[in-house]
C-alpha cells in the first residue's frame, strides 16, 4: 500500500492552506485577495488532478490516441476560473472604493475608523456623560 499515490493531493492541500492562511491572517485587503486566488487555484489543481489518468492525453479526440483524461473536471474548472476572476475584479473595485472612503486599505485602520463612527453614534444617543449603554441617560422631559 503506497500512500505516495496521494502526493499530488497533499501538494494541493499545502497550497490551499497557504492561501487560506493569507486570507484570514493578513490585514491588507489586496493581499487577502491574492490569498483568495491562491486558495481558489489550489482547488483547481485538486479537480484537475482527479481527472488525470497516467499515460493519457488531453481530451481532444484523435485517432492517434486511445486514452484521454477526464474532460469533465476541466469544464468545471473553466467555470471556476471565471468565477474566480469575477470575484477578484469585484473585490478590487471594492478595495478601490474603500481606499477612497477610508484613505487606507489596512483592516486595522478601517476598524479603528468604524469604531470611531460607532462611538459617535453612542455619544449622540446617550449623551457625553456616559460611554456605556444604559437607559439611565434617556431624557424624559
Amino acid at each position: 500500500m503506497n500512500i505516495l499515490g496521494l502526493y499530488n493531493y497533499w501538494i494541493v492541500v499545502v497550497l490551499m492552506l497557504i492561501g487560506f492562511y493569507i486570507v484570514i491572517a493578513h490585514e491588507n485587503l489586496i493581499k487577502k485577495l491574492v490569498g483568495l486566488s491562491i486558495f481558489q487555484t489550489s482547488v483547481f489543481f485538486f479537480y484537475i488532478s482527479m481527472g488525470k489518468i497516467t499515460g493519457a492525453t488531453a481530451p481532444i479526440l484523435d485517432e492517434k490516441y486511445e486514452l484521454y483524461s477526464n474532460p469533465l473536471p476541466h469544464v468545471l474548472i473553466l467555470t471556476a476560473i471565471v468565477v474566480g476572476i469575477a470575484t477578484t475584479a469585484l473585490g478590487l473595485a471594492l478595495v478601490v472604493r474603500i481606499q477612497e472612503a477610508y484613505g487606507s486599505i489596512e483592516e486595522r485602520d478601517i476598524q479603528e475608523q468604524d469604531a470611531h463612527d460607532q462611538l459617535e453614534c453612542q455619544l449622540e444617543a446617550y449623551g457625553p456623560s456616559s460611554m456605556e449603554i444604559s437607559d439611565e441617560q434617556e431624557q424624559d422631559e
Binding site: K52, T54, T88, R108
Partner: protein, 308 residues
C-alpha cells in the same frame, strides 16, 4: 512581503506556473485560461488598482494563532479526506468510470466536435456555461456600479490627458504591430475552439487584452473613440442575451432549453451551430466585461489626477 507590487507580480508568476502544470495534467483548455486570466487579466487588474492605493503594506501585528488554528483544522480535515481517495492517475477511479466515458465515447457521434471539453462545456453542460457568462456579467455590473464616474469627470477628461507611456516610443511601435496579431489570434481561438484548445472565454480575454494594451499605450480617450463605454456596456448584455436567446430559440423550435438538436434538421449540424453561437455569446460578454472593468479602473485614476 510588504511591497504589494512584488506580491502581485509573484502571484502572476504563480499563475503562469500553474498554467504549465495544468498543461502537464492534460488540461489544455484550463491551462490556456489560467494563463490568460490568472497571469494576464488578473495581474493587470491588481496593478491597476495598486495605482490607486498605496504600494506598500503597513507593518502590522498579526494575530495568527486563531487563523493558524483554523487553517490547521482545515488541513487536517483535508488530509484525513485524502486517505481514502483513489490514487492519483489511476484509470479505474469512479471519476473515470461513471459519467465521463459517455463524453469521450459518444460525443463525436452526438455532437461532432473533436474537443470534448468544448462539447461538454457548450452542450452537455451548456447551462453551467450560461451561468458562468452570467457570473462575468454580474461582476461587470458590480464594477460598473461601484466605480461609476460622474459625467463631470468625463467632460474634463475630454481635454485628453496623456497616457502614462506616452514617451515609450519603442513600446508603442512594437505594440502597434502586435495588436492586430493579438486580435486575429483572439478570433482564431474563438472560432477554432471546436478543434483545439480555446473557445469563447479565452478568446474574449485575449481580445480584451489587445484593446487594453492599446489603451495603456495610447491613452484612454483615444481608445474610447473606438470603443465607447456605453456601447461596450450594451455588448456585455448582448452576449448573455445571445446565449440565452439560442436556448429560447431551441425551446420555441420544440426542444428543451439549450437543446441544439432542434436548431437544424440534422442534430449534429444543430449542435455545431448552437456551439458556435453560444461561444460567440461568451466571447462577446467576456471581452466587453474585461474591457469595461479595465476602463472603469482607469477612469478612477483619471478622477484622482483631477482631484489633485
Amino acid at each position: 512581503m510588504s511591497d504589494l507590487f512584488a506580491v502581485v507580480m509573484l502571484s502572476g508568476i504563480y499563475s503562469l506556473i500553474s498554467a504549465s502544470l495544468f498543461l502537464d495534467l492534460d488540461a489544455v483548455d484550463v491551462a490556456f485560461t489560467e494563463a490568460s486570466v490568472g497571469a494576464g487579466i488578473s495581474t493587470l487588474l491588481m496593478l491597476a488598482s495598486l495605482k490607486l492605493v498605496s504600494r506598500y503594506q503597513k507593518k502590522t501585528r498579526y494575530k495568527p494563532i486563531l487563523a493558524f488554528f483554523v487553517v490547521v483544522t482545515t488541513g487536517a480535515m483535508l488530509i484525513y479526506g485524502t486517505l481514502d481517495m483513489p490514487h492519483f492517475g489511476t484509470a479505474d477511479a469512479p471519476v473515470h468510470t461513471h459519467v465521463a466515458p459517455r463524453y469521450l465515447n459518444e460525443s463525436m457521434g452526438e455532437i461532432g466536435v473533436p474537443n470534448v471539453v468544448t462539447s461538454v462545456l457548450a452542450s452537455y453542460r451548456g447551462y453551467d456555461t450560461l451561468g458562468e457568462t452570467l457570473v462575468i456579467f454580474t461582476a461587470g455590473i458590480g464594477v460598473m456600479a461601484l466605480l461609476m464616474v460622474s459625467k463631470q469627470t468625463k467632460q474634463e477628461s475630454k481635454k485628453l490627458i496623456p497616457a502614462d507611456m506616452q514617451q515609450q516610443i519603442i513600446l508603442r511601435i512594437v505594440a502597434k504591430m502586435m495588436i492586430p496579431l493579438i486580435l486575429m489570434f483572439a478570433l482564431y481561438v474563438q472560432f477554432h475552439g471546436d478543434y483545439g484548445p480555446g473557445g469563447g472565454f479565452q478568446a474574449g480575454v485575449i481580445f480584451a487584452a489587445g484593446i487594453i494594451l492599446y489603451t495603456m499605450l495610447f491613452g484612454l480617450s483615444t481608445s474610447q473613440e473606438v470603443f465607447k463605454a456605453t456601447t461596450i456596456e450594451l455588448f456585455t448584455a448582448a452576449g448573455v442575451l445571445l446565449y440565452g436567446g439560442v436556448g429560447v430559440v431551441c425551446m420555441l423550435l420544440g426542444g428543451n432549453f439549450l437543446d441544439y438538436d432542434f436548431l437544424k434538421h440534422d442534430p449534429v449540424h444543430g449542435q455545431h451551430l448552437g456551439i458556435l453561437l453560444v461561444e460567440l455569446g461568451v466571447g462577446i460578454t467576456v471581452a466587453s466585461v474585461m474591457m469595461i472593468i479595465f476602463f472603469k479602473f482607469t477612469w478612477r485614476t483619471v478622477k484622482h489626477k483631477y482631484k489633485k
